[in-house]
Structures are given as C-alpha cells and as structure tokens.
C-alpha cells in the first residue's frame, strides 16, 4: 500500500526526514523499497486562471489569456479540448520543468506567441490510472472550492509536496493496509502514541433498518453491516480528498465511490455502495452462488459463477461478487440518489479462491483474504457515511443494520521474559519488554518471569509466543542484536558417502575435458522417452506451462542434445558436454528419482590445430573415455553388448555391463535426430549415459596397496585370421580362458579386413603380456601358454594362426 507521509501527520508528529523514516520502517516493520516525492524534478508550475479562451480557426487550438499572479496575464496556446474561460488550471511557466525532465520555453505555435503551457496531470507526472476520467484526455481543472490562487505553486494543492512510502507488505502484515494501521506501526517504531479519532455520525434521516430484511449466512460473513443514505447528489469530491486517493494510487470517481475508498484507506475496512433501487423489494441476501448464475462486474467482466462464490443478491439474482467487486446491475450512477452502504467481514479463503478463480483481485479482496480488523467495521461504514453526508449532500437514515455481528475476543498470549531472551539471544529485562508492548499498544501483565500479553484485534497476525518474540526483536532492533556463533557441541560436517562418490565422478569427467551443463527437468513427453532402455511410465505435471515442458525427463542425454543444438545454432561446434543429475520415472505407482551421468561429444578430441593433427571424436574414442573413467573408480571388468536404445544409432551402440549389472550405454546418437532438429544436421554426436544408482555401489572403497611387480614381464604377439563375424570379445575371451595364470593383459594391436585378406575373413593381431609376480618367467613357460592359446583359437574360433 502507498502510505502518505503528510496523511500520517494526522496521527503522529513526524519531524524526521522522510528518507530516514523510510529506512527505519524498513528495518523495523515493513519494507519500503521506494519513496516517491511527486514534485521532485518539477519547476515553475503554478495555478493559472483562464480569463479568455478563443478558438484558433482551422485548428484544434485555443489562444488563452491566463492570469498567473504576474502584472499582466500570459498568452498561452492550448491544445486541450476542455480549456475554457473561468477555469483554474495548471500552468507551466517559461523555464518550467515538467515530467520526464522536459523543459518548457516560450515560443510560437502556428505563429502565435505562447508563454508557457497549460498542463494535464500526466504531463506533470501522474500515472494514467489515478487521473480522474474527465481529465484523462485534457488539462486538469481545479474544482470550485479548491481554494487556489493564480500564481501559487500547484504542488501543495495537488498533494505533490507529499512523500509517498511504498509499503511492500508481507502477507502477515495486512494490518498496515490502512492509514490507521500504518500509524500504529510507525508510532510503535518512533515511540509515539498515534491519535486515532472516533467518528461522530449524525443520523438525521428516518429509521430504515426495521423495514429492510438482510439474510446473511454467518459462515460466509460473520459481520455484515448496512446503512442507508438518501438525498445524494453525485458530484466531484473535494480536492483534498481526491489528492489523498491519488497519492494512494486510487483514481477519484465521484463523491460516493470516493467516500468508500477513502474510508477503506483510513480504516482498512473495504466498503461497497449499492444503488438502493437494487433492493427496492427491501430484501438482501448473502449466499453462495447457484450453478448457472451469471454476473456482470463493474469492470464489464461477465462471470459464470461458481457454487463456492459468495454473492450479494436481491430476491432473484446476484448483484455483487462479495468482497471482490460489485455488479453492473447495482452500480451507483450519476442518477443515483439513494445508496445502501455495506461493511462486512467475509470468509478469507472463499474470497481468495473466488478472486483467483475469476482472475479478479481487487484492493478489497486483497484485504479480505489477508484478514481485516473486526473492531473497525463500524468505523469504516460510519466514516464513509460521514463523508457522503459532508460531500454528497447525503442524509444518513437512522439505524445501523447489523445482519450478522460475531465478536472476536482479543488474543491473550502467555510467555516469559526468559523465553523471549532465549530465542533472541538478548538480556532484556521484563520492564524493557513491557515498554515495547506499550509502544505497540498491547495490554500486558508482568509477574516475575511470566508475561501475559493481550493483543488487540487490529493485530490479528499475533497468536503465539513466537509472534511476540518477533515484535520484541524487531522493535528492539535487529541492528542491536549481538552477532554470535552457535555455542554447540562440535559436529562433523561433510557429505554422505553417496554424495562424495557422485562428486568424485563429476570431478573425473571434468578432468577428462568435459564442460558441465545443467538442463531442464521438464521436457516434452516424446523427448522424455528417448535414451532409455527400459520402458518406464512417464511422470507428467498436471497443469504444464506448455507441452514442451510437461513431462519429467527419463534421460540426461535429451538435455545435452538440446544444449548441443543451441551451441550449433551459435556456431559452436567443438563440444564435449556432460551433466550429472536426476532422471525420473513412475514404477508400480512409485515416483523414482535416479542419479545419472551422461556425456555428449562432437567435433574433435582436441581443439583444431595448424599441424592438422585433429582426431575426430568417434565411437572408440568415447568408449575409451568411458572405460578410463570407470577404471579410475575401480570398475574394470566391463562387458559391451550391441544394443538398441531409442534415440541411439542402432548399429553403433553398446549396452555397458559390469558383470550382470546394467550400467548404461555408449554409442553414436541416431542420425535421424537431425531430421527434427535442423541444427544437428551435418554433425556426428557420440555419447554415453550411466545410471549411477547401479554404478555407485561398485565404486572402490577401502583400497589396499599392491606392490609394483619386481620381475620383468614377457610380451608375445599373436596374429590370426578369423571369420569376419567373430568379435574381438570372442577372441579375447578365448585367449584369456586359455592363457594360463601368468597372462596379465591382452591388447589389440591391429584389425584388418582389406584387400589382401580372403573374402569374409579378417586379420587380427594381439599383444599378450605374461608376468609372474613371484619369480622370473621363462620363455619356455610362456611359449607353452601361447601354444595352448593358438590351439584353442584354432579349435574354438577356427582361427588360422599366422
């Protein structure tokens, strides 16, 4: 809410600089991000009295003689349609500055001398939304009785000398959504008791309430008050009232609507005025809407009402959406002479939901949903009635109709001085604390350590001792709290074993030269199903922002593909990206979150270089990266089996197993991806995706040193010719199975199936490493082992040893 510094002076004696006060309020109560001073930057804006105004032929302009308190009137050319002789207006003199730091100079318009400018409110900095409708498209005219004299500065008359605090309230501090509430808060902060005046309302019309029936469900509206006013003459509100409204961000409308808004700003109690004709039958009902009922609101929105909506109705139909906005069919118009004025407390949840449901939040609904002061309902309605009596010629009919009138008892909270000190870390005495409650205007009783606090209904946010701790803490001043460190027994900080392992993997992959990415969890249902072997159910959000972000990913690669595509579109083509994060699926009605690790490679294995030693990334390069990564964490015995995975190249992808355990896959991404995403065209992508839930338990812990071998190893090469369909794995398995206990390692040295080789065959060469860790190995032993291997290869794989 926008809180006027000048208006606050009605309640408090403020001598402090507004900026200093704003900072103090921010630190103690409610954040004030900005303080506006409407006249700031403006210069030489005075009241002018238009003596004559004559139309300049062939234009929309008027030539005016304007008295501005100088020896002679000024001639000013004005383009506004509503300029006329006899008006008091805003004049920007020669040398003036108006909104946007624009300078006004005397000059000629269409050859006619003009010594300034007659201004509209927007031209001197007012927002469109607060400018009264009749001045929206022309100059502003001071209403009769505005008490302004030609030549005087306009700022004070228009409320522009004010300082306007933007109270950015949190949901619990709706008590400051009124001038009185703000005055209590500021008063507590600067230790002044605010002067809150009671209303004295004369009811000089006839008694009306016994002839009017209001049927109100107390569950919907625990308080529901009505007044009737007659003899109203709709017109413009006095300028002082209008300035207070527009400084609060509310557009002045007429002397009835303005009265209700003003009363709400003052007391925090929302009010509504109905044309009394609406209830000509003498009956008003507060109920929930019935299925199929409709209502057109004052903002011309047509609503299909929901059975949860609270409505005000006559005997047939809804005429207002309770607590939110009136209906067109009960509107106060220029012809209105009698009004029914309503002040109520509505159920906060129902109001909040209705405002949300119909996307129609208003100043009133915002207050009802956060709560209002139950003790201010009558004051609210009486202030509004008084203003109409004073400024709309209204007669207040006798009687305040209280259709429902539940009472709310003041909340009594019991706590102790020691509890408050314990939480805050302070050493305040009971008296210190009592003084703070005095400042807040809370009743209190101090008995030794015990403290009993009675909280007035205007502070409905306070219920429990912790709430009192906050009041004491903030008014004592968080700045005054001594900064300490918790004096606690020592605790051992750190990561869980699992988290440590995950971080180790991330570090290793980064060390391999990959750049870490973080991608979105939400993707399209189609994309969410790619790059996963198992066919789990997708998890979808119930109300997505768009279909592209409606399902939870089942792989990380999909995010990496998007990242690569984005980079390709920005001409970045040398990419090695990884992500470590979660994938999600639904399994037997259970939501699963699995930690994964995925990498995507494209381009060359290092930056391009002038020596042309570029090594393009390919399947074996990525497989090597994966293998060395896993070896680094102690996972060595891997099996790779050709596999079909959605999104992967069907003949260039391998499932990766450690023993029987499926860890993930590695391979080339399906070229078909480029059909949908043009950015991917002309690029080869390779990658892997690992399920860390399967992998983490295999990571080595508790390693013991194994001494480096002291005896030399012996190498033997074996070359063979086999059928083309025989895989490397088959050959290696056969060699290992027959190599004896000293065979340490088998390395592939060459694979050739070119011209010189018999059709349907290929030539393979292996280097075998033999080692005896206990003694020097003899050639004889090794030769025997190799002979056995040769025989097995020939026998089992029909290999020709060469």
């Amino acid at each position: 809410m926008l809180i006027s510094y000048n208006w606050l002076q009605d309640f408090l004696q403020l001598q402090v600089d507004p900026a200093v006060l704003a900072e103090k309020i921010t630190r103690t109560g409610v954040e004030i991000p900005t303080t506006a001073h409407p006249m700031a930057g403006l210069k030489k804006l005075v009241v002018g009295h238009v003596l004559t105004s004559e139309k300049i032929e062939g234009t929309h302009l008027h030539k005016c003689q304007v008295e501005v308190g100088q020896e002679a009137p000024l001639q000013i050319v004005c383009g506004a349609p509503n300029v006329a002789a006899g008006e008091d207006v805003i004049v920007a003199l020669h040398g003036a500055r108006i909104a946007g730091n624009e300078k006004i100079k005397r000059g000629k318009i269409r050859g006619i001398e003009s010594n300034g400018m007659i201004c509209g409110l927007q031209e001197i900095g007012f927002a469109d939304k607060v400018v009264p409708a009749k001045y929206l498209h022309g100059i502003f005219v001071f209403s009769a009785g505005s008490d302004v004299k030609p030549g005087q500065d306009v700022y004070e008359a228009l409320g522009m000398d004010d300082y306007i605090f933007d109270f950015d309230i949190t949901p619990n501090r709706a008590d400051t959504l009124s001038m009185e509430g703000a005055a209590y808060e500021v008063g507590a902060i600067i230790d002044q008791k605010p002067k809150i005046e009671q209303v004295v309302l004369k009811e000089d019309g006839p008694a009306w309430s016994d002839k009017f029936e209001a049927q109100v469900d107390p569950k919907l509206a625990p308080k529901y008050y009505l007044r009737k006013l007659t003899g109203i003459k709709i017109g413009e509100s006095p300028l002082w009232l209008q300035t207070r409204l527009w400084n609060a961000g509310i557009r002045p409308v007429n002397n009835v609507v303005d009265a209700t808004n003003y009363a709400m700003l003052l007391t925090g109690q929302p009010l509504h005025a109905y044309d009394a004709k609406t209830f000509a039958a003498g009956k008003l009902i507060v109920r929930q809407a019935q299925a199929g009922e409709k209502l057109e609101l004052l903002n011309e929105k047509e609503l299909e009402l929901d059975p949860q909506d609270i409505v005000i109705a006559d005997e047939n139909k809804p005429v207002s959406l309770a607590g939110i906005m009136g209906g067109m069919n009960s509107e106060v118009t220029d012809e209105t002479t009698e009004v029914i004025l309503e002040a109520a407390v509505f159920d906060p949840t129902l109001i909040r939901k209705a405002a949300l449901r119909h996307a129609n939040r208003t100043d009133a609904s915002a207050r009802f949903e956060k709560g209002v002061n139950w003790d201010n309902v009558q004051k609210g309605i009486d202030v509004a009635a008084l203003l109409m009596r004073n400024h709309a010629a209204a007669t207040v009919d006798q009687g305040l109709l209280k259709a429902t009138d539940q009472q709310r008892q003041a909340v009594v909270v019991k706590t102790t001085t020691s509890y408050i000190n314990h939480v805050l870390g302070t050493e305040l005495s009971g008296e210190d604390i009592a003084k703070i409650f005095d400042r807040l205007g809370f009743g209190h009783e101090l008995a030794g350590d015990d403290l009993t606090v009675t909280v007035p209904n205007r502070r409905w946010d306070i219920e429990i001792p912790a709430d009192l701790v906050e009041e004491v803490g903030r008014l004592y001043g968080y700045d005054n709290l001594e900064s300490t460190q918790p004096l606690l027994p020592e605790t051992h900080g750190g990561y869980s074993v699992r988290e440590t392992k995950i971080r180790r993997l991330r570090k290793l992959v980064e060390g391999q030269g990959l750049n870490e990415t973080i991608n979105y969890t939400l993707t399209s249902p189609k994309a969410a199903k790619l790059f996963t072997k198992s066919d789990h159910k997708l998890i979808k959000v119930a109300w997505p922002m768009n279909s592209g972000r409606s399902a939870l990913r089942q792989s990380l690669l999909i995010g990496l593909v998007n990242a690569v595509s984005y980079n390709f579109a920005h001409k970045q083509e040398q990419l090695m990206l990884f992500e470590q994060g979660r994938v999600y699926n639904l399994d037997d009605g259970k939501y699963n979150e699995l930690e994964h690790l995925a990498a995507l490679y494209t381009g060359t294995a290092a930056h391009h270089n002038w020596q042309k030693l570029d090594q393009p990334v390919d399947f074996y390069w990525v497989k090597g990266q994966l293998t060395s990564l896993l070896a680094a964490v102690g996972i060595k015995d891997l099996t790779f089996k050709a596999a079909i995975i959605p999104g992967m190249h069907p003949t260039r992808t391998a499932a990766v197993y450690a023993g029987e355990r499926y860890l993930g896959f590695v391979g080339m991404l399906a070229p078909v991806l480029a059909v949908k995403d043009k950015n991917l065209q002309g690029h080869d992508l390779y990658g892997y995706e690992l399920n860390l839930e399967a992998l983490l338990p295999l990571m080595t812990t508790g390693l013991k040193n194994e001494p480096a071998p002291k005896y030399p190893s012996i190498e033997r090469d074996v070359s063979l010719l086999v059928d083309k369909e025989i895989t490397n794995a088959q050959v290696v398995d056969c060699i290992k199975a027959n190599g004896g206990k000293y065979l340490q390692a088998v390395h592939v040295m060459d694979v050739y199936d070119g011209m010189q080789i018999e059709h349907g065959k290929k030539s393979l060469a292996y280097r075998l490493i033999f080692l005896n860790k206990q003694a020097t190995l003899t050639d004889d032993v090794v030769s025997k082992a190799v002979e056995k291997i040769d025989a097995a290869l020939a026998d089992q794989l029909e290999a020709k040893i060469r």
Binding site: L424, A466, S483, G493, E510, A542, G581, H607
Partner: protein, 353 residues
Amino acid sequence: MSDELDKLLARLKEIQAEGSQEIDQAVNKEKLNDIRVKFMGRKGKLTEILHSMKDIAPENRRTLGQQVNSLRDKFQASIDQANQDLTHKLIQQRLEAEKLDVTLPGREPLMGSKHVLRIVEDDLEKFFIGMGYQVVQGPEIETDHYCFEMMNLPKDHPARDMQATFWIDDEHLLRTQTSGDQARVLEKHDFSQGPLKMVGPGKVYRRDDDDATHSHQFMQMEGLVVDKHVTMGDLKGTLELIAKHVFGSTEIRLRPSYFPFTEPSVEMDVRCFNCGGKGCPICKYEGWIEVLGAGMVHPNVLENACIDSKVYGGFAFGVGLDRFAILKYSIDDIRDFYTNDIRFLTQFRQEED
C-alpha cells in the same frame, strides 16, 4: 752417425708439420681417423721412423725415441681436440636444423569446467562443512505433506499462492522449495547424538514463465541449525559470515519478513558491492541488495516433526544459488544457466577451486 740422427730429426719435423696441417684441415671424423692411421698406425710414418732407429747410434736412440713419442702424444691430443670440435660443430648444425618457430600456437586439449551454479553450490557447501554442517539431499518430487504441511503451510494457506506449484497428482508436486529437506531431517535427527546442522542444496521448480529474471527451474540451498540453545544472534552472526564469504560485504541489514516456517522471519540485504550504497542499476538504486531469507524455526515446524519446541529451537535460512551467481558474476539473464552456451560455461573455470 749423427748425420743419420739429424736426418731423422729433420724428417720428424717434416712429419710434424705435415701432420699438424692435415689435422687442421680434416673435415670429418673419418678423415681424422685416416690421419691417425697414416701417422700413428702400425705402418704409419712415426712407426717407420722408429723402425729406422736401428740405423742410428744406440746412444742417440733414446733421444729419438723421446722425440717420436712426444710427437705421437701431440698428434693424439690434436686429433682428440679436432674430434671434439667436430662433434660440437655437428651438434650445432643439428640443433640449427631443429629450430622451431616458438611463436606458433600449441595444440590445446579441451579443458573441462564446472557449471557456475555448481561453483557457487560447492563453494557454499565447503564453507558450511567447515562449520560442521552436513550436506543433505532430498527428493525433487515432494509430497504435499513435506513440502507444505510439515512446513506450517496447511491446505488453503494463502502463502501457498505465493509459490505457483507444478502439481503431479493430488499429493505429489515438484518441490517449490528445498524446505522439505528440513522436515525430513528434523523427523529423523537424534538429538542425543548432538545438534542438528545441515544444508540441503538442490533444484526447485515454480510455475513461472521463463524470462530474463524468472526461471521455472532454479537452485536453492536450505540451511538449518537446531539444538537447545540457538539464538537469533547466532543466526545474525551466521548470516554475516555468509555475506562476507560470498560477497565480501561486511555491512548487512536484516528486515522483518514473513515465511510460514519461521518466526521471527527476516530477509538479509547486503550493502551494494557495486556502488557501496550510493545507488546503481544492480541495486535498483536502493543501495541494498536482497540476498536471502531466514528466521527462527517456527514452533509448529518443530512440533510437526515431534520435537518439543519448548526445549529445542533454532534457525533456518534459504539461499537462491541462481541469485547468488547472478549477483556475484553480474549475469543479466537467468536463462543463461540453462541454455549452456559453451562460451558462457567455460568462462567461469578460473573461479573453480
């Protein structure tokens, strides 16, 4: 007889001159070897002279022998020296031939990098671990129970509207805050084993349209300290350490605020590290920058986890990792974190520890 000696001595002089000249003119090691053979070999000229000794008087043989030996030594020394010089020259030639343009660029391998959000996360984790905090992870698919109800946000609580939620079904949602981790840890913690000190980093989700300042996915870190004697002064002291560690700011401001799960609640601002408080675009001309929310754990949150709020209490804080990164590195579009432009990603490498 002395004639013979003189003749041989004269011959020796000739050999010396001839040999010295040849050694000087030798262009390679082969030539030097030839010279050595020619003069000092078995049939070499010096050997010949020794053979001629039988023709001279025995008393002169000794003199001649000495002279021949001395010349042989001289030749050997000269040849050795010449050999060494030749080697040196060869090396010089070879090195000259191997000369590189050292100003040409080297072949650069690809260097890995941590995501900037991870840099911020890791840095904070280490900071808190150093102060004895455990790092805790919780589920992103949270239940209404843990994300809201346990955190003192019962159904129909207006503050639920503050966080536009991605619901999955009636009970499950993508967590809007990492606070659910608090509830889970509070339920499990055994206070007889010591105080509870934790931070919980992770992804959170809000149903917001993505733009420069909003993201439907971002990262938070939740902090919680609970024991018998934890005060708001302790919270202030801890927050000051965070501000100093992350932003180098020593001046902070605590403002009253509101979170359903803390009471009292505060927000912390730091003095704008860009302008020092004079006002600039980074602080929106306020001189202060809001960096985190915090407060004393609400008694309902403790009681919901079956902890006696009369005995135990503590503080909690929540940090937006995206926000920290944005402020710390002057990033002007939150979407940059998730589009992963390689040029954006790699620049933060130098910030890694």
